[in-house]
Amino acid sequence: SQQGEEDPQALSIQEGENATMNCSYKTSINNLQWYRQNSGRGLVHLILIRSNEREKHSGRLRVTLDTSKKSSSLLITASRAADTASYFCATVFSGGYQKVTFGTGTKLQVIP
């Protein structure tokens, strides 16, 4: 079963606006990662936040992690048409196999 669930499933915004996507998960994690997928093919890693971190920035990306609520959010500021893609959160469990388990994804459309 999927570890993460993204919300919303789809998001449409105007270029220049901010986009916020949320991810919830079920069990204790070592880290949470966000990936982007264009055109239904390979995923590209965006950012990794460790379980002992609360916030992380990378360029126009801001990720927060609340382990007490088992949730994370990805904020893309000043969105561009090129940000149109599907965004997935992924988690690594804190025990057992260190495998990366993906959520259901958010489809973001940025309208020029």
Partner: protein, 114 residues
């Protein structure tokens, strides 16, 4: 190589035939993953290899699916007696060993069963 390589890029096969999908991970990456993605859906975990440990096969949907990883490098995903519901993009990823490492993805194999 420079990245994760998957072959073929596209595969069309007749229902009932067997197919083999290949993944060449990044050199030195001990972890290798296979995922399946149906049109417009999320990633479905299939199998995970980590070094010489027994693979985690918990995501394989049926006994028609199997995977091998030879010499800790190249992996082959085999689907026997393909069905139309097997049509999907099959994605391979690899990563270094460790808990805080990112996964690098190949471009996937789009499998169409007709």
């Amino acid at each position: 190589g420079a990245g994760v390589s998957q072959s073929p890029s596209n595969k069309v096969t007749e229902k009932g035939k067997d197919v083999e999908l290949r993944c060449d991970p990044i050199s030195g990456h001990t972890a290798l993953y296979w995922y399946r993605q149906s049109l417009g859906q999320g990633l479905e975990f299939l199998i995970y290899f980590q070094g010489n440990s027994a693979p985690d096969k918990s995501g394989l949907p049926s006994d028609r699916f199997s995977a091998e990883r030879t010499g800790g490098s190249v992996s082959t995903l085999t689907i026997q007696r393909t069905q139309q519901e097997d049509s999907a993009v099959y994605l391979c990823a690899s990563s270094l060993y460790g808990t805080n490492t990112e996964a690098f993805f190949g471009q996937g194999t789009r499998l169409t069963v007709v």
